[in-house]
Symmetry: C2
Subunit: 419 residues, 2 copies
């Protein structure tokens, strides 16, 4: 099955909202062999919605929209699509009832705001996709030729819940007997340039991708290698993906830290568990980002004790025991300071492993000797103490993100004995 | 001027990469009165690229593409667009030279990888958009009727630099004499539901939006109100935006914390500076996220000392001085514990203001009395000590983000005396 996704909203075209819905839908659908063949973003205007959805419907006969179902006057998806199907709108009593029930359940007082009632207007002959996660119900509209448009709300949390609860079952019901799928497999690498990785792979003797497509996806976490199988039976796709992934994994070697959506932070927590060690973090320029990365993983608390954000030098000395002489002789951004921070936080929190980051995230604070992006990272207690100095590229945000990723990578390699 | 943006890459359609380039380009262009009227994402295939770019070119005669200029074999943007324009490809000696220069400047040894040489192939008659931020140059292709396609790389940092350095000047040169612009103004609110805000605004006596469009943009930071003026001269647009924004700001009242892209963290830092106070953070379930929010703002170091990530209860007691009795009587997630954490971190780091978060981010750890999403937040040293307990909606990530935002909001209101 081929589907098009149309995301609706002036805020998308003006660039004030990043469209995460389109990507999420594509990922979910691909797992069921449904291919998103095009994604279009159009404005809030009725004409733009009708043009975008109409053209998509012509091409594939199967369209998912997100956005424009809210309680405000800029929400025109339902009437625009209803017009495409030649349907009138009516106020659905059941939707009104569920809106009122939800309003009361949230502990709100007074009557349902009039704006919310607009959400109860639905096209004639529509299927209502009940929204257990918010106020706007989704809409399923289908014509006599079986062509359909499913309208979902734009708020990501609501869209995701509604898709899983109500839309996916309808789509799956149409897939019975569909023999082929699109399946992907991603190998995650860090610490190697895209072109070097590509040359390594292209130089594999007798390289055979078996008809799979290979994409290089660089980002601040590293370069992901994405293999995609199209038009194969599920078993065949999985076998090919496994075979080719094994070849690529060998070529990328020590730079591979995971598969799929694996987070390096989760890999580090797993290594800590294997080693029977607990970690504490000491952060200067990242200001909590490394701790946030580790604690973003559910269940981190068994090996992650906590940390000290030592943004000010006084905190580095008082809370982490960094020596004033070290700061004077080498500066706050130095391997020496990073090593004392790592040892200090380990001691202060009673952890077996300490990791520290100190650097210049910019935009100000750089010098000729230590330009913006200079970062020193140290680990203590995972084998011999290690540290390194690096220059991270990118803006303040990227320098901080890359620093946290590099610190995680150092801890992992130290625990594995390959640092 | 009307432009379409086509973002290229299987990874976008498969949903493994979120398209941030389209939004960024739209934002930059809108400031110059250039409207992105549609955004399309297509796959890596030559046919898909040609179909997407070709249709966009028919509609507007002005197209920006991102992606598919990399050094690997899945990068087909240049030949596909060249074919649309009926142009052959050749290897550009100057591009080769700059690729070699960059390769050496990065301290790489050996010859330039062969994969990189593909980046030197350009369509005949093309303008080269030099890339000071990476290896792939951008391409400008124009036909005899003045219709053009500008091809930019997909890596956001490179795309942004190349756009500003090379493409924006070309676009601006075509705008001379264009009399009208699209301008937007955003008012940021937190702590009020979209529908309540909408009703407040609709109930303003004699409300006149003066022809501006108003969008409600809900997210975990709160609800943004975006006003947009289209087709007006710059002065007139600015004046209308200022007048209507003032009316909306009054209606939203105490919930307004900023304008445009203002970050609540920056507003808190400003209030701290005004009050002559420095802050320290104590974080349990957010694990460093609040510290990361504050330190993401350049120049935070004058009022942000640092913090303690007390993920484990031992750290809450040892480093923050939370009493064992408090934990036993009220639990780690309680206003009592949060208050002791806030007072403790203030004392430990020598700050004037302490703020603390403790909660259950999920997916596990919830109880009937304290379900997942229960969060307690406290502030100490900004007027009388304050604390509250709330139930945050959403998944682990949202609970953590909303908690950090709520803590910032509490600090701001405490400093302003409206908590």
């Amino acid at each position: 099955m081929k589907i098009e996704v149309v995301t609706i909203g002036d805020e998308l075209l003006l660039g004030f909202t990043i469209d995460t819905n389109g990507a999420w839908l594509a990922r979910e659908l691909a797992a069921y062999g449904v291919t998103v063949v095009r994604r279009t973003s159009v404005g809030d205007g009725a004409d733009e919605i009708a043009a975008g959805v109409g053209a998509a419907l012509e091409r594939t006969g199967a369209v998912i929209t997100t956005g424009g179902l809210g309680p405000t006057s800029d929400d025109l998806t339902k009437p625009s699509v209803a017009a495409l199907f030649g349907r009138a709108m009516y106020e659905d009593a059941q939707v009104v009832e569920s809106l009122v029930r939800r309003w009361k359940a949230m502990g709100r007082t007074g009557d349902l705001p009039k704006s919310n009632l607009q959400q109860a207007l639905v096209p004639e002959g529509a299927g209502i996709l009940a929204n257990a996660h918010g106020t706007a119900p989704g809409i399923w509209l289908e014509d006599e030729r079986g062509r359909w448009v499913a309208m979902l709300p734009g708020v990501p949390r609501e869209m995701r819940g509604l898709f899983a609860d109500e839309l996916l079952p309808r789509i799956r019901a149409r897939l019975e007997g569909t023999p082929t799928v699109v399946r992907s497999h991603t190998i995650r690498t860090t610490g190697i340039a895209e072109s070097v990785l590509s040359d390594r792979i292209l130089s594999i003797a007798g390289l055979d991708l078996e008809g799979l497509s290979l994409a290089y996806l660089p980002g601040w976490e590293g370069v992901d290698l994405r293999l995609t199988a199209r038009g194969l039976a599920p078993d065949k796709a999985d076998a090919r993906l496994a075979r080719v992934a094994a070849v690529l994994r060998t070529a990328a070697g020590e730079h591979v830290y995971g598969e799929g959506h694996d987070d390096l932070a989760a890999a580090v927590l797993d290594e800590l568990r294997r080693a029977g060690k607990r970690i504490a973090v000491a952060e200067s320029c990242t200001g909590g980002l490394l701790g946030a990365r580790l604690t973003a993983i559910p269940g981190a608390s068994d090996v992650m004790l906590g940390g000290i954000i030592a943004y000010h030098n006084d905190v580095k000395m008082a809370a982490l025991g960094v020596h004033a002489e070290t700061l004077a002789a080498h500066g706050a951004v130095s391997e020496e300071t990073a090593r004392e921070m790592a040892a200090g936080v380990r001691r202060a929190l009673g952890a077996e492993v300490g990791v520290a980051i100190t650097g210049i995230a910019g935009p100000d604070g750089g010098t000729a000797e230590k330009p913006v992006g200079t970062v020193c990272i140290a680990v203590d207690g995972a084998g011999p103490a290690k540290s390194f100095r690096a220059r991270m590229i990118g803006d303040r945000r990227e320098v901080r993100e890359r620093s946290a990723q590099s610190a995680l990578s150092l801890v992992r390699r130290a625990l594995l004995g390959t640092a």
